[in-house]
């Protein structure tokens, strides 16, 4: 197993894709999702898809009238990447024939993109496109924090989390209210969920100020503050293990006396570990920041948020017609499938056990050998390691289906009256 996983070679992608799109890509469930029961008329046929082909050839404004056409076209083109865009006022493939002013993006799921590269200043194991088991917990925290807020605060119910195939996760909020949101509304929600702010010229990127702390932040701190921070920052990242790291933390402390004070106490401490530093830091602030330096009393919370709070790419969420990589794509570089993630078991999700395209094709070949009856071929991908992820998607769909069943009955009732 292990060998197979690491054996993916990006050059072999074109050899595997035809097989993947023929036997693995779940067209049925996929169409069921994006068609939303056919309740909003033309929802599927007005949806933009875009394909990235070999050599970065990029095809925008693809659209398909039904599942068969989608399936045929995907199998014909074998795209390296599929993006999902907005539902437009006209069929996207007619884009050139329609007056530019009339061709408008009407609706799209509310989406969030969380990418590990945005955490480069607070993870010390890897950087850029690389991830490892030491930094992945950041994504677990992100899923939990964002999911809680979307459900509890905003009342959304149909939320799909998807592994981006390499170094991050995507979130698709599919409630009707969410799909109809304007750009202003999308950016407002994204801002509400953004706590870490500031560019390369700001060291301290979280400010709670001295007032009350908003319930949604308190809830996030409950998620981060307990086990997560200890296990992630202290144990996995050893976030205060070097002088440089300690200097970085101290740079958030705006008061010189405090900086010196913390260091003085820490110098006397043995052993010098991230754990002891964190304790010194917390205790010192708790003791001294009570009265005259009220502003500093939030520092430990602010620090935890800066190191762990989810970092969203607001621009991806904002635009109604911003494209986002589709679930069940294969990441060309890693070969891994963009599989749904069960948010309730976010901790258990391990990006390194997500099946690669070559692994899946191998598994299928083995299955085919042992069972030759062609009747079962339609769903045979469920027999492979993709199956358990399909299960997550099925559960999401089952819940989503309920929203349109009521409406279909209603519509039918109307028809019969006449």
């Amino acid at each position: 197993m292990c060998d197979k996983k690491s054996s993916y070679d990006p050059a072999s992608l074109p050899d595997f894709l035809p097989m993947y799109y023929k036997r693995f890509f779940p067209y049925g469930a996929y169409f069921k999702w994006l068609n939303y029961g056919g309740v909003p008329k033309n929802y599927f046929s007005h949806r933009e898809f875009s394909f990235t082909l070999k050599d970065d050839v990029y095809l925008r404004y693809q659209s398909f009238s039904d599942k068969q056409e989608l399936e045929k076209e995907i199998q014909k083109r074998c795209p390296y990447k599929i993006d999902i865009g907005a539902v437009f006022s006209h069929r996207p493939r007619d884009q050139k024939a329609v007056k530019a002013a009339d061709f408008r993006a009407m609706e799209k799921e509310l989406v969030f993109d969380i990418d590990m590269t945005d955490y480069d200043d607070v993870r010390f194991c890897c950087s850029g496109a690389d991830i490892c088991s030491k930094c992945w917990p950041l994504m677990t925290i992100a899923i939990k924090v964002i999911h809680r807020s979307l459900c509890d605060d905003f009342g959304f119910e149909h939320i799909l989390w998807v592994y981006s195939g390499r170094r991050g996760v995507h979130c698709w909020v599919c409630d009707e209210v969410a799909r109809k949101m304007s750009q202003t509304a999308r950016s407002a929600v994204a801002e509400y969920l953004s706590v870490v702010k500031g560019g390369e010229n700001q060291a301290k990127k979280v400010n709670l100020y001295t007032g009350n702390i908003h319930p949604s932040i308190t809830a996030a701190l409950d998620i981060i503050g307990g086990k997560s921070f200890k296990s992630y920052a202290i144990e996995k990242q050893d976030f205060a293990g070097t002088d440089e790291q300690i200097q970085k933390i101290l740079s958030f402390v705006p008061d010189e006396n405090f900086r010196d004070g913390i260091m003085n106490v820490y110098e006397k401490n043995h052993p010098k570990t991230s754990y002891t530093f964190w304790n010194v830091f917390k205790e010192y602030i708790k003791e001294k920041a009570d009265f005259t330096h009220k502003k500093l009393s939030n520092l430990p919370d602010e620090l935890m948020l800066q190191y762990c709070y989810p970092r969203l790419d607001v621009n991806v969420s904002k635009g109604v017609n911003h494209l986002l990589k589709s679930p069940f794509c294969v990441h060309p570089k890693t070969g891994r499938v963009c599989v749904p993630i069960d948010h309730e078991k976010a901790e258990e999700f391990d990006p390194f056990t997500v099946p690669t395209i070559s692994q899946l094709c191998d598994e299928l070949a083995t299955n085919d050998d042992s069972d030759n009856s062609s009747k079962r071929r339609v769903k045979d991908y469920r027999q492979t390691s993709l199956g358990r992820y399909m299960h997550v998607f099925d559960n999401f769909l089952k819940k989503l289906e309920k929203t349109w069943h009521g409406k279909i009955v209603e519509e039918n009732g109307k028809d019969k009256q006449f």
Partner: protein, 513 residues
């Protein structure tokens, strides 16, 4: 049909009818006017309202909205605007005059909708000023008047039962910044779908539960404003689609084009031909000499990383275009920097980035000639995140970094203090002005609205007057503050970035995961 005398004074019969038409000092401007207006009055009303909105804008730039200083500054402006102060009503005004004043409010608003619906940039400006004006006027009213207004406009919200309020007391308290538990119990709360109070949601200033926001009575204005904003931006979108048909009347077309062009100042969409000899090799030198701090940051970021992220490329690239860097030179400049990075060679650059640069210059895609970002846009939109160098340093950098920089450039102490004070008071453009004055050792007061203006002013001071006055289009300084008279210029509408263009631009540069 209804004919209005040229003087604007109305006959008594009409006036009494208007009383019903304008039952309240505040309006949501839902019904367009249906009377005939002379061209002269049309133009006159337009200029009046622009004057008012311009005043609202300048007060807003200099003061924090809702602060005491803001209200005082508004008072002052109103006194200055006494010929056109129909937007405030004092008890001294005779009831008979009220409807004539409200009519002006009504008509002038609709006239400006026509003038300001054309592009995103114009719409954004217009909506912002109208909202600020509305907020100011709304907050002047007493609660009886407000309730009356809400009822007349179908906005009668019901407060939540006190029992529920008591149960949620702690959460409601925490969601507000400064309130205590007793504070919570002293006010009414309104439960509304979160979509109706997006501004409160955005700033995390309200308690959310299950998709509903619990809004304290003091923030009621936010709900009303949100409703006003939604209504207005929707109306502007519709108007913009209808305007082409109306423009067949050449008289109006000319008028409308002139109205907004004057008051937004130069948009720096096209580099001036006479001094457009900026080449890629000159940028390094010019950046030290004349670039505003925001662009110096981007330049430094580019030099250090040999890369800039999307918004950085956009902010810097369009600025460079604005100072006269030609497309060929721009390609040369970006390529020479980007290819210094280990993972970028010439071919890869051509494939991944040259399209976007050509796009900025209107050579690809929609072929729109994009305008450089103004200060307002840089300050208020797309705040920088990790790995970003764009944004406004006075708004988005640590204050001590600015201080360090000023020390390094040995600015006089008093200037430094002034810059820091402005930053503390959130007056970023004023901070930049002080910075400019110190950097150029001048005492000239310039209202900085645009990074490209900073550059041009700087070049003017360094090279003498010759650089800035090459063609009369640029004679907009002091920018837009006192210009009232309508004169003929030739703005180019198509230059502005519309929502759709912008999205395409973003997509064109999507980075792959």
């Amino acid at each position: 049909m209804d004919f209005t005398p040229k003087t604007g004074k109305s006959a008594p019969t009409i006036s009494s009818r208007r009383c019903e038409e304008y039952p309240h000092v505040l309006q949501f401007y839902k019904k367009p006017p249906s009377e005939d207006v002379t061209l002269h009055e049309f133009e006159d009303l337009a200029v009046q309202r622009v004057k008012v909105l311009k005043a609202v804008d300048s007060v807003g730039i200099r003061n924090i909205k809702g602060s005491k200083e803001y209200d005082e500054a508004m008072e002052k402006e109103i006194k200055k605007l006494r010929d056109v102060d129909w937007f405030v009503e004092k008890t001294s005004i005779k009831p008979a005059d009220l409807s004539a004043r409200r009519r002006k409010d009504h008509l002038s608003h609709f006239i400006l909708r026509l003038a300001y619906c054309k592009s995103d940039e114009l719409r954004r400006w217009f909506i912002q000023q109208e909202l600020d004006l509305f907020r100011y006027r709304f907050l002047r009213e007493n609660s009886a008047s407000i309730l009356d207004f809400l009822e007349k406009n179908g906005l009668d919200y019901q407060p939540i039962p006190h029992e529920d309020r008591g149960k949620m007391r702690d959460k409601l308290k925490d969601a507000s910044f400064k309130m205590t538990s007793p504070d919570v119990l002293q006010r009414e709360y309104y439960k509304v779908p979160f979509m109706e109070v997006l501004e409160l949601v955005r700033g995390r200033k309200v308690y959310l539960e299950g998709g509903y926001a619990y809004v304290p009575q003091d923030e009621l204005v936010v709900i009303v404003l949100a409703s006003f904003r939604e209504h207005l931006s929707h109306a502007l979108a519709i108007t913009s689609r209808a305007v082409p048909a109306m423009e067949e009347d050449g008289r109006l077309l000319k008028l409308l084009k002139n109205i907004h062009s004057l008051y937004l100042g130069n948009d720096y969409s096209t580099a001036k031909k006479a001094n457009s000899a900026v080449t890629a090799d000159m940028i390094n030198g010019l950046s030290k000499q004349s670039f505003p701090p925001c662009m110096q940051n981007l330049h430094r970021g580019l030099k250090e990383e040999h890369h800039l992220k999307h918004w950085g490329r956009l902010q810097y690239g369009l600025f460079l275009k604005g100072i006269g860097l030609s497309l060929e030179e721009a390609l040369r400049f970006w390529k020479s920097e980007f290819t210094k990075a280990a993972d970028m060679d010439g071919e890869k650059f051509d494939r991944q980035h040259s399209y976007n640069i050509r796009y900025n210059y209107g050579k690809e895609g929609k072929r729109a000639d994009y305008t450089p970002f103004s200060c307002i846009k840089i300050i208020t939109t797309n705040a920088p995140g990790v790995g970003h160098y764009h944004g406004c340093p006075f708004r988005h950098s640590d204050a001590d970094l600015i201080e360090q920089k000023m020390n390094k450039m040995s600015f006089p102490k008093d200037k430094q203090t002034k810059v820091m004070e402005y930053i503390k008071g959130s007056h970023y453009q004023l901070a930049c002005r002080e910075y400019f004055k110190a950097a150029h050792k001048t005492e000239e007061e310039i209202d900085l609205m645009h990074p490209n203006q900073y550059y041009e002013e700087s070049q003017r001071l360094i090279n003498g007057a010759s650089a800035g006055e090459t063609d009369n289009k640029t004679q907009t300084e002091p920018r837009g503050v006192k210009i009232i008279k309508v004169k003929s210029t030739n703005p180019n509408f198509d230059d502005s970035i519309t929502g759709e263009n912008m999205d395409e631009l973003e997509l064109a540069s999507m980075e792959t995961d």
